[in-house]
Symmetry: C2
Subunit: 139 residues, 2 copies
DNA sequence: TTCTAAATTAGAAACTATTCCTAATTCGGT
DNA sequence: ACCGAATTAGGAATAGTTTCTAATTTAGAA
């Protein structure tokens, strides 16, 4: 609790209860949650919480580079607490999003083909190792 | 017209007028259009066209690997006629999506960290060269 | 060419993620 | 404790997409 409050204060973000709880959730759950997942997990503990607040909070976290936004799936936006730059794997079977310890040649580059790079997203899609194992048992 | 009809027939897709027109549009416009862009461009020439048909058609084209889906922007899906594998650049200023002649070390790989790869998406975001030039004149 | 069954299309309605709006609440400094 | 400013909650609005159903079109058989 204090840890997350401190992180917010250090960045100059007012440490409201809702923001602290959302930040804590993101730090403890590396599942690249959607707004619904965050809301669903927290509204029991923070009964007055509204989805608007989750949206507002994530917008602020984005602005202050506390979270990254993933557009790896087609229907909703996913969020993750900013760590080292890394790529992602989306499993078409179970829907999980996994962090990959893979990085891009351009990670440190300032530009590609004359365009100024501000962010890089590497999305791999397919079947995750866990689902591949399950598949073996079936077929 | 005949060219696109042939492409559809070759793949085993019934070459309806709407499908031919949508395929032609995708081939001639490498702007990674949204459904709205496709609909907006075609409904003048194909007055009875409905958005549902655009959605249906793109779903079929996807199924038959005629188009790729891009989730590079946050609010809508974009489509492109399948060409060589390549990465994309999204300009935060003008909103354009550009093809990059950049490819990934994993492009030919079957898997990463035990996960089976079926598709790779490389999205770069920042300011495109054209906008950078405009900026120079301003500041 | 005509007929028929199956596939496709159009348009409206439904759905869902996100944004917008406004009043009530909370926050931090005084 | 008080006050102005920031934040929050919740409902309404919006936009992209999907679903539903009837009408139309298609391709193949007669």
């Amino acid at each position: 609790m204090e840890k997350y409050k401190q992180i917010l204060v250090d960045r100059g973000i007012k440490p409201t209860y809702q923001r602290i709880k959302i930040l804590e959730y993101l730090d403890k759950n590396h599942s690249h949650p959607t707004v619904d997942m965050i809301y669903g997990a927290l509204y029991k503990k923070v009964p007055t919480l509204s989805k608007t607040t989750v949206y507002n909070t994530l917008d602020i976290f984005r602005e202050y580079d506390l979270v990254d936004v993933l557009t790896i799936t087609e229907s909703e936006i996913r969020y993750e607490y900013v760590l080292q730059p890394h790529h992602h794997f989306f499993c078409k079977r179970c829907g999980k999003i996994l962090d990959l310890d893979v990085n891009c040649v351009y990670q440190e580059a300032m530009c590609v083909e004359g365009h100024k790079i501000e962010a890089i997203h590497g999305y791999f899609k397919g079947i995750c190792s866990e689902c591949l194992l399950k598949n073996e048992n079936v077929s």
